[in-house]
């Protein structure tokens, strides 16, 4: 990767991090758990990496198997994470 391309990625990293800080500057305690769970689901974005990794050539190679393992785990994280967050948030609805 060229340094210049890396710099741009770092821009993205910095901006996104700053944005993350700003967005969660004052959450009420009731939302701590759902927020944690919801952002945990987002961190399952690594599923995209897992997809790419598991698609790499070479049947039966370690890379491939690791990729598939990652894929299963990441999917659990994503699907489970969103579902459980939603269950939690349903409880907050007005009666």
């Amino acid at each position: 990767m060229s340094v210049s391309a890396l710099i741009v990625l770092i821009y993205v990293l910095v901006l996104a991090s700053y944005l993350g800080f700003e967005l969660i500057s004052k959450v009420p305690p009731t939302l701590h758990t759902p927020l944690m769970s919801g952002s945990n689901a987002i961190s399952g974005i690594t599923i995209v990496g897992a997809l790419i990794a598991s698609n790499e050539m070479g049947y039966g190679t370690l890379s491939k198997w690791l990729g598939l393992l990652a894929l299963v785990l990441a999917t659990i994280n994503v699907v489970g994470g969103y579902a459980v967050t939603d269950r939690m948030l349903k409880m907050f609805k007005k009666k």
């Binding site: 990625l9 996104a16 009420p28 974005i45 995209v48 990441a74």
Partner: protein, 462 residues
């Protein structure tokens, strides 16, 4: 890479940002979760689009298996077990990043064509370190929370030193990998060190502090995803990962603050023991505390509120701020009444005097006999510095000095919040089991001060 896919990633990134934003607001939280889920779907779909078709079977199978497991557990788990679940999922996420990093390492190492440059290697090693720590750390947290392992902190002397040494060892090995990436043995050492570090950093922490740890590990898993993004030169991973990383850190900080701890204190593993709450003496009633913000939210979402004032309201001179609370609730069309117990306070009519002073109109004050049946249909009862007059022992415990005294049926309401300073007793000097009831939440602190804060929160919510 295809421009369409890139744009899809951009859309997904924005959806994640909006998702996180909404998750921090009570009334939009659910929408936020849906938005970020849609973002995830878009990212996955776009990625699948770029893939060669031939491997679709395994991928499909892996996704199906993962989805089934995730869905099953998320639906089956009891609501009380959610922290455990989050810990588990989080660990899986970390392990996934960790695996992707390794996979890439092996792939690139095997493929002479794609070289492992310094940036690549750094990213991979960061991903391995953070992913590994997240994985084993989360697992330990899960086991502790679930009670499979004792929630007690496990400490030994030299713990911090050992962690430091392990971290240094990791960096040393990393240098070796840099020097010669084909010596895979160093990588295995790195892997082992990372996993070990995760375990060691979490075992000294007590069960009560686990939520904070999970939040921190959650932030780590975001960072791991971010590192993976650098490995794969993938923006959506970087955006989503750093978003989660940053918001997780802030969230951890907020949670620490709520527990009166500093983040430094947390990061250095200085988590304390479980804080015991309970009565001053005698058999402690186990109570649930509630904070000012949560109280405000309960008011906000109630449709009927009954306030039970007692001597503590008089002591705190909280009558004026209770009127403000009333105004806030009435602005929301919440039915708001006062249940006046005939002997509340220390003088006949004590509550009447105070509430009249606060200019609360007489028709809001309901006598005990007239309101006692309404409690069962009430969303929220707010007990302000009252104690004996809502003590169920008067109904049930013939030994109690207040047995036989008619009481307000506050305990019959859906939720009860009790504002008092401590677990201190009332005039009759007896324990109040109401405070330990499952529908009862304690809002500790001087009534005037805490209610002022609740009112402030309600105003902000409007």
């Amino acid at each position: 890479m295809n421009i369409g896919i890139q744009l899809a990633y951009l859309v997904a990134s924005v959806l994640f940002i909006m998702g996180i934003k909404y998750l921090g607001k009570t009334k939009d939280a659910r929408k936020g979760n849906v938005l970020s889920a849609v973002g995830m779907l878009i990212a996955i779909a776009a990625t699948l689009f770029t893939l060669e078709v031939f491997s679709l079977i395994e991928i499909g199978a892996a996704i199906l298996v993962g989805a089934a497991i995730g869905l099953y557990y998320s639906q089956k788990v009891a609501m009380t077990k959610i922290p455990e679940m989050v810990a588990l999922f989080n660990g899986f996420g970390g392990l996934a990043s960790f695996s992707v990093a390794l996979s890439d390492f092996f792939f690139k190492n095997a493929n002479e064509a794609t070289s492992l440059d310094a940036i690549n290697l750094t990213s991979i090693l960061l991903s391995v370190l953070i992913g590994g720590v997240t994985f084993t750390g989360s697992m330990v947290a899960y086991l502790k929370l679930d009670g499979k392992v004792s929630g007690q902190p496990i400490t030994f002397s030299g713990q911090h030193l050992l962690n430091l040494i392990l971290l240094l060892a990791f960096f040393a090995a990393a240098v070796l990998v840099f020097i010669d990436p084909s010596q895979e043995i160093y990588l295995y050492i790195l892997v082992g060190l990372a996993l070990l570090l995760g375990i060691l950093t979490v075992i000294p922490i007590g069960g009560a502090d686990m939520p904070v740890v999970i939040s921190l590990l959650n932030s780590y898993s975001g960072m791991a995803a971010c590192a993976t993004g650098f490995i794969l030169n993938n923006n959506v991973l970087i955006v989503a990962g750093s978003l989660v990383g940053a918001s997780g850190i802030i969230l951890t900080q907020i949670m620490c603050k709520a527990m009166n701890r500093s983040l430094m204190n947390v990061l250095l593993g200085g988590f304390g023991q479980t804080v015991a709450t309970g009565g001053a003496d005698g058999p402690a009633v186990v109570v649930k505390e509630i904070g000012v913000e949560e109280s405000a939210m309960l008011f906000d979402s109630a449709s009927s509120v009954i306030v039970v004032p007692g001597y503590g309201m008089a002591v705190a001179q909280a009558q004026h701020v209770v009127r403000e609370l009333m105004e806030q609730c009435e602005k929301r069309n919440i039915e708001f009444r006062f249940a006046i117990h005939p002997v509340a306070g220390r003088m006949p009519g004590h509550m009447n005097v105070l509430l009249a002073e606060a200019n609360i109109s007489y028709d809001k004050l309901i006598e005990m006999d007239d309101i006692n049946e309404d409690f069962a249909n009430t969303d929220l009862v707010f007990v302000v510095g009252a104690n004996d007059v809502v003590n169920p022992a008067a109904r049930t415990n013939p030994e109690s000095p207040i047995f036989g005294m008619p009481i307000l049926n506050a305990d019959k309401a859906r939720t009860v919040i009790v504002s008092k300073r401590s677990m201190g007793k009332g005039y009759a000097g007896v324990e109040n089991e109401l405070f330990g009831f499952s529908n009862c939440l304690m809002l500790f602190g001087d009534a005037k001060q805490t209610i002022t804060k609740v009112v402030g929160e309600l105003k902000d919510m409007a």
